[in-house]
């Protein structure tokens, strides 16, 4: 539930490399895995078509990165460009969150997915492709000691070699993540302005108001 969002300041974790490009939300959570009307119970269907060699029997594919140690516990995911493109389903983010992913690092993201991440306490970090690839090459060794550190207040990722890589994030998105704010509560602080806008609008565009 968005009201109890975990604050995001710093995070240190192994990073799971899933370096395909254009990983769409259908791949993250296939349609038929979205069975409920709530935001829970989705992580079991996450990446189902890749993670299981037999989806119905839930038989794990040992090759898939999140089925391998130490990546099973990774809180950071590394991926190729346009991660989270495709369908707007927020289930993709809920599934990742429930599984334990708190940060995705990629050269670019699907626009809707990016917003969904922020609203659910997952940090999407955009870094140049060469940097993400270099991270992935090291992560691929699968050493539990190879950990990345994300520092959101300072907007940087500390790489495996200790180098700092700065990243951009909109101030409003950052504030929401760092403070673990509920977006609705945040907006309703400005309710006077909303109501004033609506009042004025009713005279200017009466056809909007059914």
């Amino acid at each position: 539930m968005s009201l109890t969002m975990q604050k995001f300041t710093t995070l240190t974790s192994v990073a799971a490399p899933l370096m395909r490009v254009n990983i769409d939300t259908d791949a993250i959570i296939p349609s038929r895995e979205m069975k409920g009307v709530t935001k829970e119970g989705l992580s079991v269907g996450m990446f189902a078509n890749w993670r299981y060699s037999d989806v119905d029997a839930r038989e794990e594919n040992p090759e898939f990165v999140l089925n391998r140690a130490p990546f099973r516990d990774a809180e950071i995911l590394l991926s190729g460009e346009n991660f989270g493109c495709g369908s707007s389903r927020e289930h993709a983010v809920w599934a990742l969150k429930e599984w334990g992913i708190r940060c995705v690092i990629a050269p670019s993201f699907g626009t809707i997915f990016y917003g969904n991440c922020v609203r659910n306490g997952i940090l999407p970090v955009m870094l140049p492709e060469a940097v993400v690839k270099a991270f992935a090459d090291i992560a691929e060794r699968g050493e539990a000691d190879d950990q990345l550190t994300i520092n959101l207040p300072e907007q940087k990722v500390i790489g495996f070699d200790g180098d700092a890589h700065p990243f951009e994030i909109a101030p409003a998105d950052k504030e929401m993540l760092v403070e673990g704010l509920d977006p609705i509560g945040l907006t309703l602080k400005q309710d006077d302005e909303i109501l004033a806008f609506q009042k004025q609008d009713q005279t200017e565009r009466p056809w909007v108001y059914l």
């Binding site: 539930m1 968005s2 009201l3 395909r20 490009v21 254009n22 769409d24 259908d26 791949a27 296939p30 349609s31 038929r32 979205m34 069975k35 409920g36 009307v37 709530t38 935001k39 078509n49 190729g80 460009e81 346009n82 493109c85 495709g86 369908s87 707007s88 389903r89 927020e90 983010v93 670019s108 699907g110 626009t111 809707i112 917003g115 969904n116 609203r119 659910n120 909109a170 101030p171 409003a172 977006p183 609705i184 907006t187 309703l188 400005q190 309710d191 302005e193 909303i194 806008f197 609506q198 609008d201 565009r205 009466p206 056809w207 909007v208 108001y209 059914l210």
Partner: protein
Amino acid sequence: MGRTLIQKLWDSHTVADLGDNASLLYVDRVFLHERTGSVSLKGLEAAGRKVRNPEQVFCTMDHIVDTLPGRGDDTIMPSGKAFITTTRDAAKAAGITLFDIGDNRQGIVHVVSAEQGITLPGFTQVCPDSHTCTLGALGALAWGIGSTEGEHALATKTLAVNKPKSMRVNFDGKLAFGVTAKDMILNLIGAYTASGGVGHAIEFTGSAIHTLPQENRFTVCNMAVEFAAFTGVIPPDDTTFEYVHGRPYAPTGEVWDKALSYWRTLTADDDAVYNKDITIDCADIVPTVTWGTSPGHTTRIDGVVPQPSEAPDANARTSWERALEYMDVKPGQPLEGLPIDAAFIGSCTNSRLSDLRDVAHVVKGHHVANGVKAIIVPGSSQVKLAAEAEGLDKVFTAAGFEWRESGCSMCFYAGGESFGERERVISSTNRNFENRQGPKTRTHLASPTSVAASAIAGKIADVRKLG
């Protein structure tokens, strides 16, 4: 400096500037469907919040509901019924208008919203569904959101949005025989890749857009999201106003006149500057079909599957190689003549009355090839009724097509009805992703007339050759 149309729509809905390029935008309409809308309504309820202005919120049943004749709340999709009943109860509790199963206003959300006059030029509209951009064809700023954003829009009547960059896509020239709006948008995505519009809101302009009938304009805007754009908009003109006039929720009388004079201001200023400008000469466009698993994997109908070595970069090469394997096609192989197992005409991209008329024109007097499963699903119950009034259903069934109730149907696979494993489907929909229409199903996107011609031929066919 002049303003773009997107900028004007943005400015006229800005409640507050949130700094750093973000604005709190006023949302005129929220539309929900049983798949994700149910989640928004339940989430809101769980947080103890209420829908503000429920009279401006609408909901329909399209994604999970069956499209087989005689349908009810029971679905082929396991646990689908829960979505339907939960949505019905939550919609009632929230006091919003629901186009339920059996209501003749029911249909695919983006088709219905335009058809009922719920979306009007100059509006902002959101829906927890990525193809909400379809409605940009009415000159509205309409975009897809997540369910949590849906809760936000329902509770506050606003959304905090980062302003996208601007892009103008100019479709110049005239469409040749057999070439449709679907081919236009597939060409754009093919030429600039499926991530070509990322971070941008697009204004579609040019003579080919201006002369396009309203229903076909929806097809263009529908796939803006397949171009990774925030949304796509077409400046409203007389074609738009004629379409809107007389719709159930459109204004009438004096209010109509007032609205109309406002809508006429909804064009970009002459000196507006865009972050990116693209021009496409429509004379170069021929019927187009996808060969791979991204809407950007396109080729001319008379073209061949490309060589991965021709891919623009290493990433594209990898994705092309994967797509070749999934689709079971070979570089250099012609698309035309590839045998198909099924043909699907439907979805918010191409299922409106004019699409169905075009399809009827192609299939009349012909029959679907042996062994090909061919299905037509009207975009709304209104489209279905109108098509039946013209006798189109008779043409379709005589030609061997199944004629369904309205809904999303097999545009996507959610565990219910689907195409079979490794079946090759030519489809008028918008997504050819892996497993989209069924487990391991291979989807080729094309215009509805190309799909129709292929169904008749039993293989991917050039609609121009059917005359």
